[in-house]
């Protein structure tokens, strides 16, 4: 009995609910049946259709190859590891899942992968950066397959105004992994009859990407920024620093001039200069202390206050960005509404320092203002009234240097820089970590307060941290724990697990 001569073509499709994996499978069935194949498809939707991973499995068997007088071929219902000819994944992590399940094998599998990411819940809810390593995923996919066709098919779908399934269908046709001609694939789309024009365009894009090998990654357009005459010498000074700091110092100067004025950017450069001196004196050659401090200092000086938020929201470039983001066409009108919730704290922060403190510390005044800040406000920036409200707040920018928040932030930064300077003399790596740890202080209201609390706690623990075998690593670990959850659970555990340097044997 000849057992290897005849076998079906096996195709597994890994998608997520709502991506049209079913439509793709139906097109494949259609193109195959019209080309004289016996086709079978099955799927496991279940609750997976609610945003979860879902998969389809298709087998094709040539009718003309069927044995005389024999019953129909027995086609499989589940993809078998090591026995899948074509695996199509609509997203990079799903492609990784196919590899993990052993469906992609180097002796057999043509692997069609869309490299776009649909982030998992774990990645999305992280308090900082919880994204997995896309490069590692793609490497794994490449090493697992006989042949890989990859590209950002989601982007091609968007560019052609269609859905990813049509692009993937095109990539399948372009891969030549199935013996049918391009026309046959397109005919299946025509027979489907839904959104034909867009689907054909998307199909074409997918086909081209498969033929041309890997699709080049779309380069982000360079940000062209206008440098005023007053700022030019500062930018020149920023440019005199070596990498890795240079990039951050330049961005910092631009940010702070935009945030306040050229004088504020000058303040920044002066502080950077002092740090550069410390870095030079204690450096291990990496320049990381300067880079991290320059980066965090710029962020710390450009703290997000109500004035800044209002200013960013009324800018013309922002109006254009919103139109682009909601994909407004010509003739469509876009109205914008903001969800703001200023509290007494934010109002006091904006006032001159003395007045702000008085408001916060005076019971009746505070309660009076609180009556007006109980619930959030919806400000319609696209109306004249709403725009002018924010425009007025933005125009308070010149008073910022006298505000309560400014005084508080400057005091905080002075202390932070002082700590860095003091520690750098004895432990460069730890000083660098202290610089980075300022990143905990970010966001607004509760988020900001929680971050500040965690930062303060870590700074108070510095003496204990310095007693551990590798203080820099200890601080980095604690910072990571502080960002692991918003209840402080992981941080508490990490603190408990901290062990001081074992005492030298007597």
């Amino acid at each position: 009995m000849e057992t290897t001569a005849q076998r079906p073509i096996t195709i597994a499709i890994l998608a997520m609910g709502g991506e049209g994996g079913g439509v793709l499978a139906e097109w494949i069935i259609d193109v195959a049946e019209h080309a004289g194949y016996i086709a079978q498809m099955t799927s496991v939707p279940g609750v997976a259709q609610r945003t979860g991973a879902t998969n389809y499995y298709v087998e094709l068997f040539p009718k003309h190859g069927a044995k005389a007088n024999s019953p129909a071929p027995v086609l499989g219902l589940t993809p078998m590891p090591g026995d899948v000819d074509i695996v199509i994944a609509s997203e990079l992590m799903e492609a990784g899942r196919a590899v993990q399940r052993g469906l992609v094998t180097p002796d057999r599998t043509t692997f069609i992968v869309s490299t776009n990411r649909v982030y998992s819940m774990t990645e999305r809810i992280a308090m900082a950066d919880g994204r997995v390593d896309s490069a590692a995923l793609l490497e794994g996919c490449k090493s697992a397959a006989k042949r890989i066709i990859h590209g950002d098919m989601a982007q091609l779908a968007e560019a052609t105004g269609s859905v990813i399934s049509a692009v993937l269908f095109g990539a399948l046709a372009g891969s030549k992994a199935l013996p049918m001609q391009r026309m046959a694939f397109e005919a299946a789309i025509h027979r489907g009859g839904v959104g034909v024009k867009a689907s054909i365009a998307a199909f074409g894009a997918g086909f081209a990407s498969a033929e041309g090998g890997p699709v080049p990654v779309k380069a982000e357009p360079p940000v062209v920024s206008h440098i005023s005459r007053a700022l030019a010498p500062l930018m020149a000074e920023a440019g005199s620093y070596a990498e890795p700091a240079r990039m951050f110092v330049r961005a910092g100067v631009e940010r702070l001039a935009d945030y306040q004025d050229v004088a504020y950017a000058r303040d920044y450069l002066d502080r950077v200069k002092a740090i550069a001196e410390i870095d030079r004196r204690h450096s291990n050659g990496s320049g990381m202390l300067l880079a991290e401090t320059a980066r965090e200092l710029a962020l710390g000086m450009a703290y997000e206050d109500t004035v800044r938020v209002a200013e960013l929201k009324v800018r013309p470039a922002r109006f254009e960005r919103v139109r682009a983001e909601v994909q407004a066409a010509d003739g469509q009108i876009v109205e914008i509404a903001e969800f703001l919730h200023p509290r007494v704290q934010e109002i006091a922060d904006t006032l001159p320092a003395g007045l702000g403190r008085w408001l916060l510390n005076t019971g009746w005044a505070r309660r009076f203002v609180e009556r007006f800040t109980k619930s959030g406000r919806i400000v319609k920036t696209s109306t004249i009234r709403g725009f002018l409200q924010l425009y007025f707040i933005a125009s308070l920018k010149p008073t910022r240097r006298r505000s309560l928040r400014f005084a508080n932030e400057q005091a905080f930064l002075r202390e932070w820089l002082g700590t860095i300077q003091a520690v750098a003399a004895t432990n460069y790596a730890l000083a660098t970590e202290i610089a980075t740890t300022r990143t905990l202080v970010k966001g607004y209201s509760d988020t900001h307060e929680r971050g500040r609390r965690n930062y303060d706690m870590l700074m108070q623990m510095l003496p204990r941290i310095m007693e551990t075998p590798d203080p820099a690593a200890t601080l980095a670990g604690l910072r990571k724990a502080a960002l692991a959850d918003d209840t402080g659970l992981a941080l508490n555990i990490a603190i408990k697990d901290m062990r001081p340097l074992p005492q030298a044997a007597e």
Binding site: T3, Q6, R7, I29, Q40, T42, V44, G46, R50, T51, G52, F61, A72, V74, L75, G76, T78, M80, P81, D83, M93, Y119, S120, M121, R124, D129, R131, V132, A136, C141, S143, A144, H226, F248, A251, G252, A257, E304, L312, K313, P316, F319, V322, I333, A337, F339, L340, H341, G376, I378, T383, I384, F387, K442, G443, Y444, S445, D446, T447, D486
Partner: protein, 717 residues
């Protein structure tokens, strides 16, 4: 209105003699029912037979034309009890539900039905939701067949076999006066294939005949002393009659093979997987021609002793391919061969795993082991010792390298889901009043147990959310919160949960999620569905129902997206001094169904040139600091992350993608939780009116004036 429409496909149900049907397994089952002259069909939706219910609903006109009555049962118990019509009358009836959860609910009625026995063919079509993608605890319907002595069909997973199983199922039922279960695995339900059709048959005896000429037979009623007779009848008559029918009609199939001293016994449903496993071991071809003889059990209960004795004659060993645990069939075969004093060695769970789905890879490995032990000469020369080895995770380098980068993707609430704000409000209440014991239920709302909400301690079954908190009904500083969906509420929750809480004077809080559909099973209508329905009674108020059973503290929130109201109402329910159960009915339409309903309307209106406003949310990248608190209080699929455009920051920013339906939750949450000012709502006006355009021009002029000032200032800064 169900999630998937079969309006076009149901036309295939009209095919006559000798036509070729192409389509899904579920549709083929419906066609087979009509070919068999069925009189009535009923059921309760749930994967993988939800589509069967949807097909039947969409085919109602065709059914009525044939005189077939179709009911959307209130529960699986109702569906099973519906088969009572076949007890006294020669009516063929079929019911369907998902197993084993549905069979659990149905088993009271099934036990009574099986005790008295039937006159007309009674078929229970069971969607076996087992293994990959399954949403139920892993149990076997086989146990139900055994305990009630109902016959269990497990046909080969191709359309001709499935259709034949429906037809012979009715005949087997009538031949043995016993209800028959037809089990379809999830992939068989969704398999696309073809078969040759027969013309539909009108029932000879109709429901009208039964209503107008009522009959009764005391001997068929499940009540002592008749039940003692039933028990005897099962063993003395019904069982032997069934075995005779199975043998005579050759429902089980035997396939010869050259290696006649060994054999494989398998459940029909595993046939395709087994053949492929044999093929990849070099022991069969693509047409199922196997070197090892096969005994395919299309009927897995009762077992036919004589067939086993015959199959094992001259065989030194057999392999039983039986999915699931415990190994009922293997145990029974051991008894059968022992009694017949046959020495054939029985392999099964020693070579195949006891638990888990029998996927291709698993069966291939089992068959390889069996062949290596019993007939190593059959294994082709040069075959590697184990084909599977390279695909095992620890030996597969590529798989290893990606494994740390691949996260699970548990199901979650859809974009714009009205249930999400309920849990966002619960998280906010948690911040003020601490954590509470939460008794969860079955339904979309059960996704709350996963991140980002992590809410819910137990789930005891559909509609049993409130019942699951019954013991926690003592004086304490905190109250328990239970969840229940509108589907579960009408399924049994009104009595098992609400009525029970009233009667036992519970002080706990119950949140009933009223989204207008049985949403998790595919958006089928229920008594409280919002829209009028031509053939079903809808628009019945849940609040009136709970007040009707004695609840005095009941509040309906008609807009769940109002997070602040939701939060305050829940807080009140948890703290009020009023005695008795506190019931909050959280009422907003399932977004999946709403979008399906309104999108075509919008598109048509826009095409007609009418003013259409579409809202969606966005995040300003330059004010987002990448903390993602908003995502932790939402988890909406359209609320995701993107690389930070700011060179100074490392954390990805939050981003709203264009799939946003503008439900409003993001704005509500950022207000209620005082998050951050980054969210904006954009209203996109298509076909603006003259007034719109006038307003827009004036605004652009004034705002533009100030914006030009801003630009000038920026340029000189």
């Amino acid at each position: 209105m169900a999630e998937r429409s079969f309006k076009e496909e149901v036309e295939k149900l009209k095919l006559g003699d000798g036509a070729e049907f192409h389509g899904e397994g579920i549709l083929a089952v419906t066609k087979a029912l009509l070919q068999s002259g069925v009189s009535y069909v009923a059921g309760y939706q749930g994967a993988p037979i939800s589509h069967l219910m949807d097909v039947l609903a969409d085919a109602n006109e065709i059914l009525e034309g044939l005189g077939v009555h179709f009911e959307n049962s209130a529960s699986e118990a109702t569906a099973a009890a519906t088969l009572a019509a076949s007890v006294n009358y020669p009516l063929r009836g079929a019911v369907t539900f998902k197993s084993t959860v549905g069979t659990n609910v149905a088993s009271d009625a099934l036990a009574n039905l099986a005790s008295g026995g039937v006159t007309g063919g009674a078929l229970v079509i069971i969607g076996e939701d087992y293994g990959e993608g399954s949403s139920i605890m892993q149990e076997r319907v086989h146990a139900f067949a055994m305990k009630s002595q109902m016959w269990l069909l497990d046909p080969r997973p191709n359309l001709p076999s499935i259709v034949k199983a429906v037809e012979t199922g009715f005949e087997l039922s009538e031949a043995s006066n016993t209800p028959v279960m037809l089990m379809l695995r999830i992939r068989a339900c969704h398999v696309y294939g073809r078969f040759t059709t027969k013309a539909n048959k009108r029932p000879e005896f109709t429901l009208v005949d039964a209503l107008e000429n009522p009959r009764r037979d005391l001997n068929r009623i499940a009540m002592p002393p008749m039940t003692y007779v039933h028990e005897k009848d099962k063993w003395e008559h019904r069982w032997p009659q069934a075995v005779k029918y199975i043998e005579d009609q050759r429902l089980n199939e035997f396939f010869d093979g050259e290696a006649s001293d060994i054999g494989i016994v398998l459940q029909g449903g595993l046939y395709n997987t087994t053949i492929r496993a044999l093929m990849l071991n070099g022991l069969a071809d693509a047409y199922g021609d196997s070197k090892i003889p096969l005994y395919v059990m299309n009927v897995t209960y009762p077992l036919v002793d004589k067939e086993f004795v015959r199959f094992c004659a001259g065989k030194k060993a057999i392999l039983i391919v039986e999915e699931g645990q415990p190994d009922y069939i293997e145990q029974a075969v051991n008894t059968i061969l022992r009694r017949a004093d046959i020495q054939t060695k029985i392999h099964g769970k020693d070579m195949l795993p006891m638990a888990g789905e029998y996927t291709g890879g698993v069966v291939r490995e089992g068959i390889r082991k069996f062949t290596a032990k019993t007939r190593p000469d059959l294994i082709p020369a040069g075959a590697p010792p184990s084909d599977l080895a390279p695909f095992k995770l620890r030996e597969n380098k590529a798989a290893l390298s990606v494994s740390t980068e691949v996260h699970g993707r548990p199901p979650s609430f859809c974009t714009g889901c009205p249930e999400r704000p309920i849990f966002a409000a619960m998280k906010l209440v948690e911040r003020e009043l601490g954590t509470h014991h939460v008794s969860a239920d079955i339904g979309c709302h059960l996704f709350s147990i996963f991140p980002p909400f992590n809410v819910g301690a137990t789930t005891m079954g559909y509609g049993l959310g409130a019942a699951g908190a019954s013991a926690l009904n003592v004086k304490a500083g905190k109250r328990a919160i239970s969840m229940m969906g509108d589907g579960g509420f009408w399924h049994n929750g009104l009595t098992s949960g609400v009525g029970n809480a009233v009667f036992n004077k519970s002080d706990n809080v119950l949140i009933i999620v009223d989204n207008g559909y049985s949403a998790a099973t595919g958006g089928q209508d229920i008594p409280s569905s919002f829209h009028p329905h031509a053939s079903r009674g809808t628009q019945h108020s849940i609040e009136m129902a709970v007040r009707g059973v004695g609840v005095t503290w009941a509040k309906t929130i008609s807009n769940t997206y109002d997070v602040a109201l939701m939060r305050d109402t829940l807080k009140e329910a948890l703290t009020t001094k009023e005695k008795g159960p506190k019931v909050i009915i959280a009422h907003s339409e399932c977004m999946l169904n709403k979008q399906r309903r309104i999108r075509p309307l919008w598109r048509k209106a826009a095409d007609r040139g009418e003013r259409v406003v579409r809202e969606r949310f966005g995040v300003d990248a330059d004010t987002c600091t990448g903390d993602h608190s908003c995502i932790r209080l939402s988890g909406c699929p359209s609320l995701t992350i993107a690389p930070n455009p700011d060179p100074l920051r490392r954390e990805p920013i939050t981003k709203v993608i264009n799939s946003c339906v503008g439900c409003g939750l993001c704005g509500e949450v950022s207000h209620a939780a005082v998050l951050c000012p980054s969210f904006y709502r954009a209203s996109l006006i298509t076909n603006p009116t003259g007034w719109d355009r006038f307003k827009d021009r004036v605004r652009l002029a004034v705002i533009g004036f100030f914006q030009r000032r801003i630009e000038r200032k920026l340029a000189t800064a």
